[in-house]
């Protein structure tokens, strides 16, 4: 045991020696530092008796995609409300139900569960706890496919990203010099293919209006190129290289971090190829791609989670399904940033007009959410 104690002491001493010389705070205020994290930012508002909670799917909260964005939105709302915030990561689908149960057990008022994978477990938990409020990101909570959600106290957050992808597809078709644009996805989930399909519809619309024949590589409207997972690995890079090899000069990778593999493949090719980000404005979240990033297709899960939790914390939770569109700002096209000077201003004006046309419904965009 001596060895162990020595080890403990050594580890503690090393950690402490780094920054152990500050002066102690006043007695009494020290207890606050041991409180749960989350509401730790400086606020003046009184703490309220409300707990916002979030359960991830197997991707974890650092997936640079929907788990992360939902986590950030929920955490920020809890901080602004000065409410408690708790989070649990799931490692696999057997964790969903115990994790939701644990959240019920620690007194959560609103539980955000992220992803279609949690749908069944969330419905089960919501039916068992009708007093609690549930938010399900990216799924309609309709597991019997009757067109209605399966529990009254779940608010589904859905995103018609095809609308934003349509704009980006139009922009890419106009930007492309080679007449070929490319896309590939992680796995053929509806939440992935909706990007690729909207992108292709935008390109097709450009061709129809301008009489051009810009081709989309990697998605034909029904099937396309997929890496088989959501990891930035060799498979993703090979897929990107393969599509680049077909002569595209705009590339849209859809699925968490796989855009990083596309970035590497673009660097290896030595060609002037523009990258398109998804989910967040990747210009801000990953500075390493700023020089090659044309724009991003934004799916503002952070904003909608934030708004939902703010409403719930103030006692006005509305369980009606939310569908993010261009009109309500739930989805959108990011600014061009460094590409501002490389894109014809006329094209940008056309995209702005197109956005208005989609909102007005004069240009139809189809996706699984409006079929």
């Amino acid at each position: 045991m001596k060895t162990v104690m020595r080890g403990v002491a050594l580890a503690a001493a090393t950690a402490l020696a780094l920054a152990a010389c500050a002066s102690a705070p006043d007695e009494g205020s020290t207890s606050s530092s041991t409180d749960t994290a989350g509401a730790s930012e400086t606020q003046t508002a009184e703490p309220i008796d409300y707990t916002a909670c979030i359960v991830s799917d197997a991707g974890g909260f650092d997936d640079k995609s929907f788990n992360q964005l939902s986590f950030e939105g929920t955490k920020k709302a809890a901080a602004d409300l000065n409410a408690n915030f708790k989070s649990v990561q799931s490692d696999s689908e057997t964790d969903f139900q115990p994790n939701l149960e644990a959240m019920v057990g620690v007194g959560c008022n609103t539980i955000v569960s992220v992803g279609f994978a949690l749908s069944a477990a969330t419905v089960e938990s919501a039916l068992a706890n009708p007093d609690l409020e549930y938010v399900l990101v990216d799924d309609a909570a309709d597991n019997d496919f009757n067109g209605e959600k399966d529990a009254p106290n779940i608010k589904p957050l859905l995103y018609d990203t095809a609308q934003a992808a349509f704009l980006v597809g139009y922009l890419s078709a106009g930007y492309s010099q080679t007449g070929k644009v490319g896309t590939f996805g992680g796995q053929p989930y509806p939440t992935v293919t909706i990007f690729m399909d909207g992108f292709k519809q935008g390109v097709d619309y450009y061709n129809k209006v301008k009489g051009t024949s810009v081709a989309v590589v990697g998605w034909d409207g029904k099937d396309g190129s997929f890496t088989g997972g959501f990891e930035a690995n060799d498979t993703a890079k090979a897929t990107a290289t393969n599509i680049i090899g077909q002569g595209v000069d705009v590339l849209l990778p859809v699925g968490g971090p796989i855009y990083q593999s596309a970035r590497d493949a673009i660097a290896d090719s030595g060609k002037d190829i523009a990258l398109i980000g998804v989910d967040a404005d990747v210009y801000n979240t990953d500075p390493s791609v700023q020089d090659i990033l044309l724009t991003s297709i934004m799916k503002n899960m952070d904003v909608s989670c934030y708004d939902t939790i703010m409403a719930a914390g103030e006692g006005s939770f509305d369980p009606t399904a939310y569908v993010g569109t261009l009109e309500n700002g739930g989805v959108g096209m990011a600014p061009l940033h460094n590409f501002e000077s490389k894109v014809d201003p006329g094209l940008v004006a056309e995209v702005d007009q197109l956005k208005q046309d989609i909102i007005d419904g004069t240009v139809p965009v189809t996706s699984y959410l409006n079929q």
């Binding site: 950690a15 010389c21 730790s40 649990v88 115990p98 149960e101 644990a102 620690v106």
Partner: protein, 421 residues
Amino acid sequence: MSHTAPQSEDKAETTVAEDNRWRDAMTRIVSGSWLVSLGAVVLAVLAGSIMIIVTDPGVQAASQYFFSRPGDTFAAMGTAVGGAYYALFIGAVWDFRATDFAGGIRPLTQSLTMATPLIMAGLGVALGFRAGLFNIGGRGQMLAAAAGAGWIGFGLDMPWPWHMLLAMLVGILAGALWAGIAGLLKALTGAHEVIVTIMLNYVAFYLISYLLATPGLLQAPGSSNPKTPPMKSTAIMPDLLGSQYNLHLGFVFALLAVAFVWWLLNRSAMGFAFRAVGENPAAARVAGIDVPKNTVYVMLIAGALVGLAGVTQVLGTVTTGFSSDIDAGIGFDAITVALLGGSQPVGVLFAAILFGAFKAGGSLMQAAEGVPIEIVLVVQSLIVLFIAAPPLVRAVFRLPQPGAKPKKRPKRSARRKEVAA
């Protein structure tokens, strides 16, 4: 060294296969004593405490003024570690917050539910260890079994219990066949089972992914998500303690599996052949045991046991439909469980319950104390690390080192004579 000296019982594990140091090392790792297992758990939990302390924001805040008021830092450390392990306990064993017995016992039933697949998969891996085979293919075998059982479970209309039993049978057969491929390849061509089983994991994963993404196969009709429909109620394993607990009939099957493997290894001729092959294949062959045939049999039975774990996942634990990570890493955790249990059926049972408790308590540790789930995974990994290094554990806890310094002097002198001769 071929003759057996009077101290053979003391040196049993060191005299096996002296010509093969790797086999010797493996034998020692997979059949460690329970004291080493306990020591490894204690060391891993201590190491986990250090990680909790280092990552806790309260400790970090207090440590900044450590030299002005060290008490705060130690208090924060105590709060962090105590809170974390307290949450682990009430999440895994007994819920002190509950007002009645039914609520208090709930976490324990949850731990047993989590342990159920680990028991069966751990037995499958342990059986392989005893026969000298490293079955790393638990993931593939579970996925194959889950696909088989799930396909029967949602696809057919039959009365209970026949529906459930048929689904179980199909799942078990699928798991057995998946492992049997590795056994057959080893028996016929000498292909190493580690490589083959790992590769079969990938084959199973991508096969399941394909089946889940293809309408008309495993994918739920009407959906385009890669997920199956829910199981029919006639195929579901009933809850053992009523609907407020998750513990299901699978746990009983797990206990039966423990009894079966104990009988197989300790009382049956087939089990004797397995162990003989595991301890020394050359000697087993000389003694008239058909080594290739037994290799196939071991893998078939091991695959059936791991397959049963996959079956209970889809018919008991997650009955609302599954996707391609239904194995939940149990195929790999089972290796740890088998090591921790010393490859003994009863040891595996207790090791699996411990791991089930880690899993069940891990949720609450995150939810209540904000301790990252990675800490629990680190503790589990450290257990394996310490078990793989028994001399380290023995040194820390002053346990006798086998073979190195026998304490009884008469044996020591006998040993010297033998070496001199």
